[in-house]
């Protein structure tokens, strides 16, 4: 009987967070600190002709002004691994600041002013005057769509069957285009770093989803051994993908600190957040679905084009999951990219999947209306019993249960198919649903457990907790398998002094790092057994490691708990105060034989004011099948967050670009709208647990992305049901519904 796993637990870092004492990157107090303020450029493409820093240098408090003319060159770029883990290593062509006079995108950093105070740096930054030689730029993805290409990296998207022919022959078909604007993560915490050098040793407090990634990046930038770089990131105020890559500010901060021989802090402004990290790319999708009159899919053609930068390929694999969601013998689903004069896009919550599924699941809804088949029924008709892509069996898949349970709970059977058929007073009511899907990823990860004779344990792994509750769930896993009360277990993360862990991205932290913590806890048990059996009279003499478990400071036989040793005594006998085990976890070979996905069904209700076109999502049900749920409290919060992000994407979020200038015109939170409290109503979660022994020893799949994936489509479908208007260009703002 589990003591912690599967039970509600409040966040172990809760008190630190509600008292304001949790320290985020910019909040460490360091003596002799200088403040850096970044100066952004004004053109989208070209070269810096001249840059006048005189006035800024003479301003009170200014320590130095760095530009491409005086900034040291940063060393060769290393290979870098990013999440999601399926993406292969690729050459790091990421943008670095102040390395040349080339302007590659608008609002590119062109100078860094360092001053004694923040106010002085901010002011002097305004005094830097750059002159440019502009070149013709391209920022409109629509204008380069025709020349889009398959990315060089990744698997080639070979068609299945004969999709074109099957589409031609299909008795029922739909064809539509969908558009998603550039979107920005906008975590509440501004990206920030404090860096200082002690000789050739660099310490940096950084906001990151991967401390080891930042370490690798900085070691190569400054040509120092990786072990000389210490990256500390105990708390991250949201990231959602924006801190998966190092971004340009950590090396900029460390460079300034090195040159000035004192600690430097750089905090992006909210505006700088819009080009200081990546974004969800502008995505155009064309979906053609052909079906038999029974509703059985005959052909799926799903083509996506999204932008990347001029200097680096990024591909979010928009159409990746299209290949696995429905059983269909004929399919083509390429994702192409087109160069634009922006900085490089990056992963943003549910990358690729939420974009691709927005288009596909809206198209499925359109097809359902064409067929006059209930949209949920259409999904069931095309249910994939095995992976349509590989033919492999699923390690587990309780999607059918999700559909059925969600429908039951939502009252779906009372839904009339016709649009505009439900009203609440003046308001039009619409019900929509969609399927959610995400991978059950796992990456290599390591964890270290120190178990002490006093019945406490210290667990460490260099993972991150950007909000999903990693501190808490790792504490739970360790407490469960070390047999300790959770309050006796301390879990630490976000520090390169700890064993290596992958980036917190792709919803793989619990599967990867959790497996390592679990393995390390079992290794402690095995070590204790070995120590216990050094005694000839050990009651566990014949037992092997898999026969024993730890509970309440005893190591005991699972089959006969009355046979045990007292752990403290064992340690004492061996003259030990504590023992430490490090475990390196790797995905199992067994995983190769299966298709591994997490699934969900999402149902939403919207109310649309027919007079003003305003949409409110008044109800949402997430039914989720993602293996075992370790902490339902924080898991539910993840689902809620997914819905809120879905609301933002569906109804509010868009980064606006004035293509004449190639410049983002709403780099702030007043014009870039994210959901506020009043936008969010009741959100309910039903967990349909899957007993999956294949995915990893804990049986967990990711959920941080999953909860968002189907929501934008479900909302758009509900808006159609409410109004009869099919809006294919996000966001669905009031003006589009008049």
């Amino acid at each position: 009987m589990a003591r912690y796993i599967g039970k509600e637990m409040s966040r172990v870092d809760g008190v630190a967070k509600v008292t304001g004492r949790a320290k985020y990157a910019a909040e460490f107090k360091v003596p002799n600190l200088a403040y850096g303020f970044i100066v952004l450029g004004d053109i989208a493409k070209g070269t810096i002709k001249s840059i006048d820093t005189k006035e800024a240098e003479n301003a009170p408090g200014v320590v130095r002004v760095f530009t491409h003319l005086n900034a040291p060159k940063l060393g060769p770029k290393a290979n870098s691994e990013y999440a999601p883990p399926e993406n292969s290593r690729q050459q790091d062509k990421s943008f670095r600041a102040l390395q040349s006079n080339r302007i590659l995108f608008n609002m590119q950093p062109v100078a860094l002013v360092v001053a004694e105070t923040y106010e002085q740096a901010r002011y002097a930054a305004r005094l830097v005057k750059a002159a440019y030689t502009a070149e013709k730029h391209t920022t409109d993805t629509e204008s380069v769509r025709a020349g889009a290409r398959l990315p060089a990296q990744g698997r080639k998207p070979t068609p299945r069957g004969n999709p074109e022919q099957a589409f031609q022959n299909a008795p029922v078909k739909i064809e539509a285009e969908y558009r998603i604007p550039i979107e920005h993560h906008n975590p509440m915490e501004l990206h920030a770093a404090i860096a200082f050098w002690e000789g050739e040793k660099l310490t940096i407090f950084d906001k990151t989803q991967e401390v080891y990634g930042v370490r690798r990046h900085l070691a190569s930038s400054f040509n120092v051994p990786e072990e000389n770089v210490s990256v500390v990131s105990p708390f991250v105020g949201g990231a959602f993908g924006s801190s998966l890559r190092p971004n340009y500010y950590p090396s900029l901060t460390a460079m300034a600190a090195r040159e000035l021989k004192r600690p430097v802090k750089i905090v992006y402004t909210r505006t700088q957040m819009y080009t200081g990290h990546g974004y969800r790319p502008y995505t155009i999708q064309k979906v053609s679905l052909g079906a038999e009159s029974s509703g059985k899919l005959a052909s799926m053609i799903h083509e996506a084009v999204h932008n990347t930068s001029s200097f680096e390929e990024f591909n979010d694999n928009t159409t990746g999951f299209t290949r696995q969601v429905y059983a269909c013998p004929n399919l083509s689903a390429p994702t192409k990219i087109a160069d634009t004069d922006f900085n490089t896009p990056t992963w943003m919550r549910a990358p690729g999947a939420v974009s691709g599924m927005f288009a596909l699941e809206c198209a499925m809804d359109e097809l359902a209306y064409q067929l006059k088949v209930d949209p949920l029924e259409l999904r069931l008709i095309n249910y994939a019993e095995t992976d349509p892509e590989s033919g492999k069996p699923w390690s587990s898949k309780a999607l059918r249960e999700c559909y059925r349970l969600g429908a039951e709970k939502f009252g779906w059977k009372n839904r009339k198919m016709e649009p505009r058929s439900i009203r609440d007073g003046r308001l039009l009511v619409g019900w929509g649903m969609a399927t959610g899907v995400w991978g059950a990823f796992q990456s290599p990860a390591s964890a270290r457990v120190t178990f002490r004779a006093d019945g406490t344990a210290l667990v460490q792994s260099a993972t991150s907790d950007i909000g999903p509750g990693t501190y808490t769930v790792m504490t739970m896993i360790a407490a469960e398998y070390l047999g300790l009360p959770a309050e006796k277990v301390k879990f630490e993360l976000g520090d390169t002094r700890f064993p290596r862990a992958p980036a917190q991205g792709g919803s793989q932290t619990t599967s990867s790092v959790g497996s390592a913590v679990y393995g390390a806890a079992l290794a402690i048990g095995a070590k204790l057994l070995e120590l216990a059996n050094g005694d000839a009279n050990s009651p566990l003499k014949t037992a092997t490691a898999s026969d024993v478990e730890m509970l309440n400071n005893r190591l005991r036989l699972k089959s006969d708990p009355s046979r045990f040793v007292d752990i403290a005594e064992v340690l004492k006998r061996n003259n030990l105060n504590e023992i430490t085990e490090t475990f390196d976890s790797r995905p199992s070979q067994e995983r190769q034989k299966y298709a591994l996905l997490a699934h969900g069904a999402q149902f939403v209700e919207v109310k649309v004011d027919p007079a003003t076109g305003t949409v409110r999502v008044t109800r949402a049900i997430e039914v989720t099948a993602c293996g075992r749920i370790l902490n339902p409290t924080t898991s539910h919060s993840q689902e809620i967050g997914g819905v809120v992000w879905g609301i933002g994407m569906a109804l509010e979020e868009a980064t606006e670009v004035d293509h004449r200038f190639g410049r983002i015109m709403n780099p702030n939170l007043q014009h870039y709208h994210v959901p506020v409290n009043a936008d969010v109503h009741e959100i309910e979660t039903i967990f349909v647990e899957e007993d999956d022994k294949i995915v990893n020893p804990l049986g967990v799949k990711g959920m941080g992305e999953l909860g968002m994936v189907g929501i934008p489509a479900a909302i758009a479908n509900a808006v159609f049901h409410a109004t009869g208007k099919r809006i294919r260009d996000l966001p669905i703002t009031p003006d589009k519904l008049l």
Binding site: R122, Y123, R126, T612, L651, H673, A678, D735
Partner: protein, 330 residues
């Protein structure tokens, strides 16, 4: 933010003298707009005269209506019993704006002074005649979804973004200001803000150094039937796409007189006397409201991205009038 001298004004006269004597000085009250714009380097005063402590926060009944201190906070104003009882439209409009925190900071005088939220005005790298006369208007042929459909010029298509002033226009408020010579004058609120014309850098008709001391609203018979409707991209904490302050004085089902003011459609709150004429003396029904809405939007000149405001404006007027007639804010 440019360095500036900070002084805390001890009396109105000194405050007015200080700002009048320095072209680059500004009054500081709540700071919710000014401090933001100073960080953005849009506003660059070299001196701030803090007037927040001056005794101009009183809200009191007068023989002719109400006098609302310029330095009363928006939140306190919206919740003042006299305002809620007699001018609920003003409460509604204020409460539709910003957030609880901002309403606790922003003053009534400052609210009248708030500047446009045009993206080009905010970005000092972009052309903007309001910020930098002669540099051009970035929005005219740029992104202009939130911009004006009335009264704009080819120099500027920005809108006045606030909510409070829309109600003040509907309620025939008068702005009392104090000038450098120590004399007070009053400006009907309709004449307070300007259309951009050839001088969009001037938002209003205040002289430099003039300090708003109070806003006065005459008695009226609108309290029972008034409504403030705000249509925005999200449910709260967002500027309006279109807003409507509607007020009706009725006798039975008949409209005696009406006020219709639209927000976020022009460089100033846009009072539609056409709509008001179309309502006066008519029965309060959908047909009348629709006719008023048509009249109100008849002269609209939308830009590339804000055509929707014409239709939205009509619908918002009808809805606001319906809600007002149904007892709206009461």
């Amino acid at each position: 933010m440019r360095p500036f001298k900070y002084t805390n004004a001890t009396d109105e006269g000194a405050a007015v003298r200080a700002v009048s004597g320095n072209r680059e000085a500004k009054f500081l009250a709540g700071g919710t707009n000014l401090i933001d714009l100073m960080k953005e380097y849009v506003e660059r005063p070299n001196e701030l005269v803090d007037v927040a402590q001056l005794p101009l926060a009183q809200i009191r009944a007068t023989s002719n209506g109400i006098s609302i201190g310029a330095l009363a906070k928006n939140g306190a104003t919206a919740n003042h019993p006299l305002v809620r009882q007699n001018y609920p439209l003003l409460s509604m409009a204020i409460l539709a704006g910003a957030s609880g925190q901002l309403r606790n900071m922003a003053t009534n005088g400052g609210n009248l002074m708030q500047r446009t939220r045009c993206q080009y005005f905010y970005d000092v790298a972009m052309p903007c005649n309001k910020r930098e006369p002669g540099s051009g208007c970035g929005a005219l042929e740029g992104i202009n979804r939130i911009h004006a459909i009335f009264g704009w010029s080819d120099k500027c298509v920005a809108t006045y973004p606030g909510d409070m002033a829309n109600a003040l226009y509907a309620l025939d408020a008068v702005v009392r200001v104090k000038g450098a010579n120590g004399r007070e004058r009053t400006i009907p609120v309709q004449d307070f803000h300007r259309l951009p014309g050839d001088a969009p850098q001037k938002d209003n008709n205040l002289e430099h150094g003039e300090l708003i001391v109070a806003i006065e609203i005459p008695k009226n018979n609108f309290a029972a039937r008034s409504y403030y409707l705000k249509v925005r991209d999200r449910a709260s904490y967002a500027f309006a796409l279109v807003s409507v302050a509607a007020a009706l004085e009725t006798k039975g089902n008949n409209i005696e007189q009406a006020r219709v003011v639209m927000g976020s459609v022009a460089h100033k709150p846009w009072r539609s006397t056409e709509a008001e004429k179309a309502l006066a003396g008519k029965p309060a029904n959908e047909e009348t409201f629709k006719a008023a809405a048509e009249a109100a939007l008849a002269g609209a000149k939308p830009l590339e991205h804000n055509r929707y405001k014409v239709e939205l404006g009509k619908r918002a007027i009808v809805l606001a009038l319906q809600q007002a007639f149904a007892g709206g804010a009461a």
